[in-house]
Symmetry: D2
Subunit: 136 residues, 4 copies
């Protein structure tokens, strides 16, 4: 499956890949390198927050027409850190949990190669003008 969203400078910097994009759920993956680690050689909290923000946002931006690119602004997000990670590939799954024409709410989880929960979070998003949902 191809990524519906165009690439951004930050995606290129961090290196995540969109693996699957369904109507209300998105899976992205990040192959870890030493550039994702903090001073304790664990994945930096900011990396995990970045993956969650991306997966939770993209989850609400599915478009049946791949030529139509939809965008949203993150209003707020949270991250709870459960287990440290340092190598392999991280998988982040974002799911839409509710919303209306102009806003949506998502939850997200990040897992390591063993399926261990590394972090989870939630976010609220506002759809940009032209990207609104049809059904409230």
């Amino acid at each position: 499956m191809k990524q519906q969203q165009p690439y951004s400078g930050y995606q290129a910097l961090l290196g995540w890949v969109v693996r699957e994009q369904k109507p209300t759920q998105v899976t992205i993956e990040l192959p870890l390198t030493e550039h994702h680690l903090n001073r304790s050689d664990h994945v930096h909290g900011g990396v995990l927050a970045s993956l969650l923000d991306t997966a939770m946002s993209f989850a609400g931006l599915y478009s049946p027409d791949p030529k139509v690119v939809r965008k949203a602004v993150t209003l707020s997000m949270t991250t709870t850190f459960v287990s440290p990670a340092r190598e392999g590939t991280l998988t982040a799954i974002g799911r839409v949990r509710g919303g209306g024409r102009k806003t949506f709410m998502s939850s997200g989880e990040v897992f390591d190669d063993n399926g261990t929960l590394v972090a989870f979070g939630e976010g609220t998003f506002r759809l940009r003008s032209g990207s609104e949902n049809e059904t409230p």
Copy 2:
């Protein structure tokens, strides 16, 4: 002032600099490049969360002896996004708001070059073994 904490791979990747480190407050700066931007050419939410996590954590890790490096684990953090940014230098300030021997709580703010509030957040942190606070 020199940075008390050793550099990490993620700091090298994102490019922030520790500007000031006081007993319960830390200021870091990030000169923005196109690699910090999302698909709408605004600073990615994950960059702002990364700056807040770092500033809020470092705020609780001051050491009067520069040879002593203290470390903490982020338990949870939040970010509220107020205003988009896309160029110049971001300044993130983290402040300790409370805590005890093994945990502390911080709040943080990110400003752009004009002093406009870009994002703010809060976090809870656990001090690593050997880095505990002396006074409860």
Copy 3:
């Protein structure tokens, strides 16, 4: 100063009082009773979250005309708990930190009688139809 907002059933149940309502800042107070305590005889986290939600929301609902009642919906909120409280009067202060015509973001703090920070939080709010801000 009179409270601009009409009383609700939940305000009657918990017992807070609006002490001051300024254009972007609101102060409310709660005289503590045993009904606000948890099993450890400290103020329940839900009480603190309730005060923060109320103060942060009201902070964005000031009206120069006291006959005009404005309303908002909370999209998300967070609470960080700093210090336990159990008696006296709690004071919660909510401040608007940003926003536009239809949404606003606030931060809030709760203090005890000694001025000790008990909890702090942040929230995002959507103004109800008819309550929008004039200036984006």
Copy 4:
């Protein structure tokens, strides 16, 4: 099933009931009255945060011996509001998602009578002295 935790003043005030308490999951219910409503006659955000805080905390406090009461302190919590509710009975489910000997992290959801998701959240908790987990 009987509630393992002793009743608190706040539980008596709000009126929730512990419906089920399993090793890492707790279900509580709240029959709604007008005292749980805000000025728009919807359930106040503070009520939903209170239910989530309680369910997420209790989820980590299971004891195989009903005579042993375990306690925790909430370090931080978040709530995302999805859908308004105003009548019937709310059901809040808290689940432990990770943790160690002294802390744990939970997520929680609140549903209305129709099974519609009303709110969800996450929290970090510190076990009180004497209530620590045996296995890290």
